[in-house]
Amino acid sequence: MLKKTLSLIISFDETQQAMAAENYCQSHNLPGRLIPIPREINAGCGLAWKANPKEKDMLCKAFDCNNIVWGQAVIIEI
């Protein structure tokens, strides 16, 4: 049985943006990882950034400040 946890999910419309997000986070030691986009979220790209919900504001701000275009940032149980 899959165990669900409350997670921050940030979606992207394009693979390039997902890769840019990963590249930025890894090079700046920011938390999270790429996962397949959960079905609850309607996004163009099949990848999403998953992290602890408490990181939402910090990650969204980091992406915005570095021209990384993201779609939605939602906290859901997956």
Binding site: M19, N23, P36, G46
Partner: protein, 378 residues
């Protein structure tokens, strides 16, 4: 063998290129097609390579670097994706068939209007033609950065000034130059730069692409899977997916990525200087040999590392065959997919023998090649 056919393809590559391809084949899945580790490996390599190409070419946005299988495919995408029946296009006598044939097809099938800036019988481009040829419906200038036949560079700053003053789309064929000669598409205000991975970039065959300036719209030429917007009936519009339907050659792109690392580590200016030195050594060695005719303009400060010659009235294919069989020197004879420049230079019948040099050639090889030409010309 002394390989002097680098304008066709570089055969000597940085060893890291083949190593990267082997590693990629053992560890990479399908880019942008999943979130498991091997798919992400591929996505990361493809993304990193876009960033490296953008940095090398001065392309503002890495997502506007689109991968294709070669420069011909890139040029077809650029030409068919931006031009239509009511347009007028200006190109040049320097062009390769990869530019000419798509343009001719549009002229023949869509009644697009097409004119060419002439090259004279010395191979000099008549730049004043550009202004003279412009019409109210002129939409684009499509030109090469360098003649693949003579190695002469087009004065792209001059073309840029004309194109921008007349609000024309500027499509540049960088097949012979990207990797060997610095290009900054922002400085040159190039709208679409087409490139191949296997010549100056020293990557594998089967790689190439387009670098697209912000605001330039190219219609997709193929449609299909992209890994994004799966339920959209239409093909996705964001670059690069717009022009990249189907699985990419990620293994080849991994090799190209390694080649780009080598170029960055070595320095493009260092590579350019070395190639120019070899070219000048060969040119100085053969230019005054009786019976040798050299094509192209060697008075300019810089040019592509190509020296094209004929010896007496000998068939160029016969000379190349002797070079290959007796001296073990690989060159390219005959026509060079540049029919308009061959006509201008009056080499349509004889063809011409092209010696083209790369980072991996040595002075010793050039000395041997000069000696071979001298012996054949005796």
């Amino acid at each position: 063998m002394i390989y002097l056919d680098n304008a066709a393809t570089t055969i000597n590559k940085p060893p890291e290129v083949a190593q990267a391809i082997v590693k990629a084949m053992e560890s990479m899945g399908n880019a942008a097609r999943g979130a498991h580790s091997v798919s992400l490996n591929a996505s990361r390599i493809v993304y990193d390579t876009r960033v490296k190409i953008a940095n090398l070419s001065g392309c503002q946005d890495p997502s506007h670097v689109v991968f294709t299988s070669n420069a011909t495919e890139a040029l077809n995408i650029a030409i068919f994706g931006t031009l239509s029946s009511k347009d007028h296009v200006i190109s040049t006598d320097y062009e390769h068939n990869s530019v000419l044939r798509p343009l001719y097809a549009l002229e023949d099938e869509k009644k697009m209007e097409l004119d060419f800036v002439r090259a004279d019988n010395l191979g000099h481009l008549c730049y004043e033609d550009f202004e003279r040829l412009i019409k109210p419906n002129t939409k684009a200038v499509v030109c090469t950065h360098c003649s693949n036949l003579t190695g002469d560079l087009v004065d792209v700053k001059r073309v840029r000034d004309i194109a921008k003053a007349n609000h024309l789309l500027f499509i540049l064929d960088g097949s012979q130059t990207l990797g060997s000669i610095p290009i900054n598409m922002q400085e040159l205000e190039v709208d679409i730069l087409c490139f191949t991975g296997h010549k100056g970039l020293m990557g594998p065959q089967g790689t190439g692409g387009l670098c697209i300036a912000n605001g330039v719209e190219i219609s997709p030429w193929k449609r299909g899977g992209t890994g994004i917007q799966s339920y959209n009936r239409q093909h996705p519009s964001p670059y690069p997916a717009r022009l990249e339907a189907g699985t990419l050659n990620s293994h080849g792109i991994a090799g190209l990525s390694a080649a780009l690392d080598f170029i960055e580590k070595t320095g493009i200016e260092t590579i350019h200087r070395h190639e120019q030195e070899l070219m000048n050594l060969f040119y100085e060695g053969v230019k005054n040999v009786e019976g040798v005719k050299v094509y192209g303009d060697f008075s300019k400060e810089t040019r592509s590392a190509i020296v094209t010659i004929n010896i007496r009235d000998y068939d160029s294919g016969a000379v190349a065959d002797v070079l290959s069989e007796k001296y073990h020197i690989a060159t390219r004879p005959g026509a060079h997919c540049a029919p308009r420049l061959h006509k201008a230079l009056n080499t349509k019948e004889q063809g011409a023998i092209r010696f083209s040099f790369s980072w991996y050639n040595t002075k010793k090889e050039i000395v041997k090649a000069v000696e071979a030409v001298r012996e054949i010309a005796k």
